[in-house]
């Protein structure tokens, strides 16, 4: 919980009141490796904060699993599309390690928006940062070669390669596992 509070403060300061009440709103969730946090077809009603562990988002395309997202400590986790629109998720989120998460429901979060307008601001700022991050990833994915993307990942987030199976990393980078293996061999 302390870790979540510290992380939220990176976005915006928290009032004393909110800080002290925060544990009422979040629920601790501990799950083992391989568990599915979110499954395709179900509506995602919770937003999670990942305290420890790592996980991946994937969906099925023509019978293949596409890993489109990887999450680590201090990431917010949800199927954003489903959480925001309350339509069924098109993706699954699976734990790659045992994880400790803190969950808050959409309703509770909505209540916080009403009660503390610093939360509205905090979330707005969080979206700004997440948006920029996604934009950068998009540009890299579309306009860089496979080798460049892997080198960029190594440079920006070397822990990913150490903690995530090669096949998932390859899919995340939008290349086949074999190609990634060959790129690694060459470097």
């Amino acid at each position: 919980m302390e870790q979540l509070i510290q992380h939220l403060k990176h976005f915006h300061q928290l009032s004393e009141a909110l800080q002290h009440n925060l544990e009422r709103y979040f629920t601790k969730v501990v799950l083992p490796k391989n568990e599915l946090l979110i499954t395709e077809g179900s509506v995602c009603r919770q937003l999670y904060f990942l305290e420890t562990g790592c996980l991946r988002g994937f969906y099925n395309l023509d019978g293949k699993e596409i890993t489109h997202w990887l999450g680590f400590e201090n990431d917010f986790v949800t199927s954003f599309h489903s959480f925001i629109t309350q339509q069924p998720a098109v993706e699954n989120i699976q734990l790659m390690e045992g994880c400790v998460l803190w969950a808050i429901s959409k309703e509770t979060l909505g209540g916080l928006f009403e009660e503390y307008n610093e939360v509205e601001r905090l979330v707005r700022i969080a979206y700004e940062k997440y948006y920029i991050r996604l934009e950068e990833r998009f540009v890299n994915s579309q306009f860089r070669t496979a080798t460049e993307r892997y080198e960029h990942l190594l440079q920006r987030a070397p822990h990913v390669v150490e903690r995530v199976p090669l096949g998932y990393v390859a899919s995340y980078l939008g290349i086949s596992q074999e190609t990634l293996s060959r790129i690694r061999g060459r470097l």
Copy 2:
């Protein structure tokens, strides 16, 4: 101005007060075709609403212009990275037609956040929608073939192909102009 108000109402209702004062905060900008709204290296201090016309965002990569974004009526326009962080933009935004825009500065917008907390909410909701949209585009770009991406564009936004030169559309889809021309010939 009426169009901007209507568009904002799609995200969240506006108080009477805000609605009536809105023109004080936005400045009308009319620019001719080919003009650069934002240039690489300069800090972007304005957010624009595009009332009529269309434009493109592009940046230089190894001497080539990469068009990574296209904007049309009712889009918000800025270099988000630069506007949010107030660092120099890495991209240019150029008008593909004569345009009517409404500009608001970062400072003025910040003032609105303080004065009307419905604005904070509205912007938060706008980010949610923009985030989902970008996510979808990202997934399509990384995991679909060139032909699929073009068909998807034709289906979702046929006006793009009619108003935007082929070379820009190709770049936007992440393929070469020649390949796009061949795809069109085949369909």
